[in-house]
Symmetry: C2
Subunit: 492 residues, 2 copies
Amino acid sequence: MAKGLPTREEDYSQWYNEIVSRAGLAQHSAVRGCMVIKPYGYAIWEKMQAQLDKMFKATGHENAYFPLFVPKSLFEAEEKNAEGFAKECAVVTHYRLKTDPNNKGKLIVDETAKLEEELVVRPTSEAIIWSTYKGWIQSYRDLPILVNQWANVVRWEMRTRLFLRTAEFLWQEGHTAHATKEEALTETKTMVEVYAKFAEEWMAMPVIQGIKSESERFAGAEDTYCIEAMMQDGKALQAGTSHFLGQNFAKAFDVKFATKEGTKEYVWATSWGVSTRLMGALIMTHSDDKGLVLPPKLAPYEVVMIPIYKGDDQKEAVVARLKEIKTELENQGISVKLDDRDTHKPGWKFAEYELKGVPIRIAMGMRDVEAGNLELARRDTLEKKIYEQKDIANKVKHLLENIQLNLHQRAVDFREEKSQKADSYAEFKKILEKKGGFIYAHWDGTAETEDLIQKETKATIRCLPFTDKKEEGVCMVTGKPSKQRVIFAKAY
Amino acid sequence: MAKGLPTREEDYSQWYNEIVSRAGLAQHSAVRGCMVIKPYGYAIWEKMQAQLDKMFKATGHENAYFPLFVPKSLFEAEEKNAEGFAKECAVVTHYRLKTDPNNKGKLIVDETAKLEEELVVRPTSEAIIWSTYKGWIQSYRDLPILVNQWANVVRWEMRTRLFLRTAEFLWQEGHTAHATKEEALTETKTMVEVYAKFAEEWMAMPVIQGIKSESERFAGAEDTYCIEAMMQDGKALQAGTSHFLGQNFAKAFDVKFATKEGTKEYVWATSWGVSTRLMGALIMTHSDDKGLVLPPKLAPYEVVMIPIYKGDDQKEAVVARLKEIKTELENQGISVKLDDRDTHKPGWKFAEYELKGVPIRIAMGMRDVEAGNLELARRDTLEKKIYEQKDIANKVKHLLENIQLNLHQRAVDFREEKSQKADSYAEFKKILEKKGGFIYAHWDGTAETEDLIQKETKATIRCLPFTDKKEEGVCMVTGKPSKQRVIFAKAY
């Protein structure tokens, strides 16, 4: 075990922080609440971006870019949205600094350069985008607009945690415009499904798709669909949301289109986003007490090679053989890092790449070269095994597929084990206290009951899961009728 | 010619604006000086990004992400850098809005949420990055650091033009740290060469590499290398810069490393960047009076297909054949858009894709289907020709390569024709007035003379070109000795 890395059991929160830091993923910066994403962390984010971008394009979306700043008058146009974000807005008020006349070499805000209208640093871009769409949309021929943006956003959070909640974060935000309600609803559903597919197949993270209760809805939305994942401490993490915005933004910005029939109607909207928060979800879903565990599909490199040798002659022979094998693997599309540095011992390297979650480690010494073998260790199970070098690329390829599936299955099993039904409020509280996890319970659909439960237990409704077999019942708190079980959990 | 598009001759500046707007590249936004990059424009930028990113990684760089905000105290640490950017900084002073008590539904800045220390929206990231590198660098083993960031930056410009000069723009900024001066200088040179290669081979835009005079240097740099391109109005455009920062930032942030010998030394630095300004350069280098002209390597799609038909039967037959050919082309790695919309006539489509600069247009009617032919038009020369469909993918592939080279050659020829030597100040002024372009002249190396020339003629020194054959002479203004000719031009 890496020296001093706390176990999940001991201190889950500190375990997470230490992994983020020691695996070189991110760190706090000199700016309150803002993080630096370090190269190894950013390489994972780049892999996420590349795959998501491909999926967005495959579903007909194009990328564009809208301004970082939102003039206050636009920001406040959609009242609910504005109200929802007003309390956490970074505001630009001036556009110039000047030398402090009393303190040479220091700068102060130049009060003569005050903006006539303050600019909000975007916490989300509906306002600036819908003020733009007004100019893009005249007739039904201009619809749908299927646009996505990769950007940074700022929400002034008081309690921040690397990746999970930061004042600035990176994300993508899709903003679509449609002629009909049905089409917008279909888009909202399509995108939450894209997120679910990405989470399951690339992140190896099982998620539940559902719909948010009114109090958890995005400010300005008619409905928010989401994917919810379970972390290893039994808490839920909202990993992506897709919003049906109705005609709220079209009305706020007066965006109408001429229908085929010649009438004028307000446009229907959706927006949807995932952020660097997914990095936090990825880390907490798979990692163990030895460090980060990465699914092969998102690992910066899938295989690390470590030569073991005494003296230059041995080094040359071992590294030469590893390079040949590296080429074989790369020809199969496998990404490989060969660490042949002399500055660090093999033992140090073993620990380092274990901490960094590299899916497969290949070690080779002089005897292995002679025998045509190599030692292969998989990060998910920590199993080590001697393999013949023959046909190694295919073996590694299959093993990587296997690791990807195994991580997913392990996370599914964990979630199932931590998912329970509760039929009374007493039972609900007991489960929550003893075991945590997802609790499927009946709720009367009111914000009052939801608030009460949250105040008394800290659990929130994560979603009303999409399901074919809705089971009716009565609210565990009020006894009023309920149409389906909803998922409660403590959440990030 | 697109209706109302002014010619370059009539009004170069308006011609540029109209192309940016009509080809769907970008538009002004509701935020002063900030642009919206529209999907077609963004698709070109994505192609630029993808290629540059590949080249950065091939030269050993990794990506990371640093905060958008820079606390004022860090910003002012490197005095020259701070002084250079202070006058154009957007400043965040508050972190909350509240409902206006006198005007329900309106928001005002919450004065109780004033930041203790103002935050500058990054105009460039040396300060925040070097304050971070301090924690990353202890010994020579931690060097070099070769990091790049893709980000948005803000410089509060008073006179803005889409892509060329905007308050917010997108860019990449490399920030490297080295143990020796020589290594940092090599890095500075390597990156300007990467930029030159990208400009020449991908943008088909010839550039001259050189070194900036002191007054044109980046604030805080010891030396700035650059690539300079010539636009079709004879004006120069600085397309990329690579800075040797010496130990200035290491000293400002006290970043020292332990050498192999155990001494402590300040770290050497470089930074280098290109931005969405390249979009402006690309547009102005190749486009003509009919609209945008794109080099195939950066075109969102290299080929557009337009079916010509009467009635549904013909449409079906023509589109079916075009789809087959589309697949053939795509199998060769060629990107193709088939526009089979009924809502627009072929003539409209021809004009539209000409305006959008698509390198090759394929048109096909019923007779072509029967004869096994198609009509192919190239955007660069506007030539149209009938081709046999047989082996069309190879023909198109070669043609695209040819277009790429032709655009480059045309731009080289144009630049050469507009490049002249001037041996007296009178001759210099005459060339500048009558012809413009690049003027190679001798200069005494002083800022005074440079200022004088700029004040009298508006021409600036674009660079001291890297050259093997330096020709000595005397300054055209003062008669003092000069070691090499430098390039003067009016510039964007």
